[in-house]
Symmetry: C2
Subunit: 335 residues, 2 copies
């Protein structure tokens, strides 16, 4: 059994750095593009299409939680930003900030799962870098991933395409990721079966590409569904009306939220898509989603209206409340 | 005067995150490609050439030091990895892991300098992400940058092209960056005029592109000149002979090294290039370098020989010593 720990010397660029990279990172992430000895690597991008790029950092705590871990999260978080932008994810780069003292076994398990997530999302990790920070100057492991994908030139998506009457869809229940992290933290005594929804949304996004009425997609991560709704209301300058009774939330997520006083609309998802689409194509989009893994509970949850830029939630009891922009952090280090 | 500090709430994805990004990151990094509201952004890459990608993390301490700071370092570190690979750097993405409590003013100064370095290297920062980690779980500020550049298809560089008799060149004095960091740390009482050599090496690298005898380039960062020499000896399976009398080192760097017992060959540079070139083109390459800013003290420092894969240093006194692979870390958090 491997009882080694990452030491500061693993970050010095010498023999130990090379061994750490070869034993853990290169071993799991091996692919024809990855060259850990190169300063930069070539990437093949289909000519004629538009290369798209995005980047994301990950500081989730704990590193491992029901249904996923920081490794898979670092892949899916970036893959999904490309997917909702209309791009097919192709290449990732990976940065690891490792805190002195992290167990080799734990790092190995996480990078192995990261590699599995990359295969599942059909992306290649082609370049990376590791840094080791002293004990007490890190959070066990922070990751950053940058993704490059390819978008068809004729696929146009943007908040500027959203019109009054457009429908807001969500591909599945919200809040699972946030609640799974919360339950994984020792300070909470609650037990539950909630697992993170962390998954690639590439297939869900591509399923809608052929619909001419597709306006815009976004994944409701940090800040949750309410934050996406706010961003849209702000960007379009219109009122967004959401229907509480239609927003899918698992009963166990709802229970935990009620006990702890969290609003599920502000909790992060890591495998969901919000789409804005012309009203006459909303049902077609929902049908497509419901046939795909992760899209079974897709729902029509809102509509774009004329009015002051804000988000109105129609409650189950028939009342209305304004979903305010997130101020305090309900749950830090969720991704 | 701005006396604000970054709080955990600046990392929650809501209003404060948006303000932090707009007030500091977007303000300084503004360019036509950057869209802080988009999940992913398009990048224009010249058709016909080869896109290259690289990534690097930065944990230097202190954040600001004579001659540069972590912001400029994060640009030049990644830009230089593209440049030595033969690519012209074009686009960067930026990740910031900010520790709770960092002063707004300090972050602002660093991101301003990062933006200045990006302009100097002619790259656009097109996408970014910020995360805030709790006090005691970070190092004030960690950065990661990913760079995309374009390499001419007919430019072939690689350690597999290095042959016996090839000459090793360095573009300038080594160890300046490492010593400047050391002097900036309060624990050292020494004062000196050493400034970091942190700079883009794009022009130095491009100056050699037309030389058919150019085999390979690398920037001697973490682990220094000796580590690059080792990597080459290992990769080519040949003996590398280096000449101590020819290796440029500033007298003030040499003095500090002697007092503190550091070997300058293992100290990081952040604005130097090592090149391997056919012997008949070495002088031409040196002439080109010496005409460029930062290349004035370029020198011929070694030769590739037949023999067991190792690095031999011919000392000034005519003796020989083996430059071993770096084991202990002489100076952590140098980049």
């Amino acid at each position: 059994m491997d009882e080694r720990y990452v030491s500061l010397a693993h970050g010095n660029g010498g023999r130990l750095t090379r061994e750490l990279i070869e034993e853990i990172f290169a071993r799991h992430l091996k692919n024809s593009h990855l060259d850990t000895s190169a300063d930069a690597v070539p990437i093949d991008l289909a000519p004629g299409d538009t290369p798209m790029i995005t980047t994301d950092g990950f500081i989730v705590q704990p590193l491992e939680f029901p249904g996923s871990d920081i490794g898979a999260l670092a892949v899916n978080g970036t893959v999904n930003d490309l997917a909702v932008s209309g791009a097919r994810p192709q290449f990732l780069t990976l940065n690891a900030f490792i805190e002195e003292g992290l167990e080799f076994n734990r790092l190995d398990r996480i990078i192995k799962n990261l590699a599995r997530a990359a295969r599942a999302a059909a992306v290649h990790v082609v370049a990376g870098d590791t840094k080791v920070v002293p004990r007490g100057h890190g959070g066990e492991l922070y990751l950053a991933t940058t993704g490059v994908g390819i978008k068809k030139r004729d696929l146009q998506l943007g908040t500027d395409r959203i019109k009054t009457g457009d429908v807001m869809l969500v591909s599945g229940p919200v809040g699972d990721h946030g609640i799974s992290i919360m339950l994984a933290r020792e300070s909470f005594e609650l037990k539950g079966d909630v697992r993170s929804d962390c998954a690639p949304v590439v297939a869900l996004c591509e399923a809608l590409h052929n619909l001419a009425g597709l306006r815009f997609m976004r994944d409701p991560t940090r800040g949750g569904l309410a934050t996406v709704a706010h961003e849209i209301a702000q960007a379009t300058g219109t009122r967004l009306r959401m229907f509480e009774k239609n927003i899918p939330i698992r009963p166990e997520v709802q229970s935990v939220c009620e006990i702890l006083g969290f609003d599920p609309y502000y909790l992060a998802c890591e495998g969901r898509v919000v789409a804005f689409i012309a009203p006459d194509e909303a049902d077609t989009a929902l049908e497509k989603w419901r046939q795909l893994p992760g899209g079974e509970l897709a729902a029509r949850i809102g509509v774009v209206e004329v009015g002051k830029a804000r988000v109105i939630l129609e409650t189950k009891l028939g009342g209305e409340r304004i979903l305010e922009e997130l101020e305090d952090d309900p749950l830090p280090r969720i991704c």
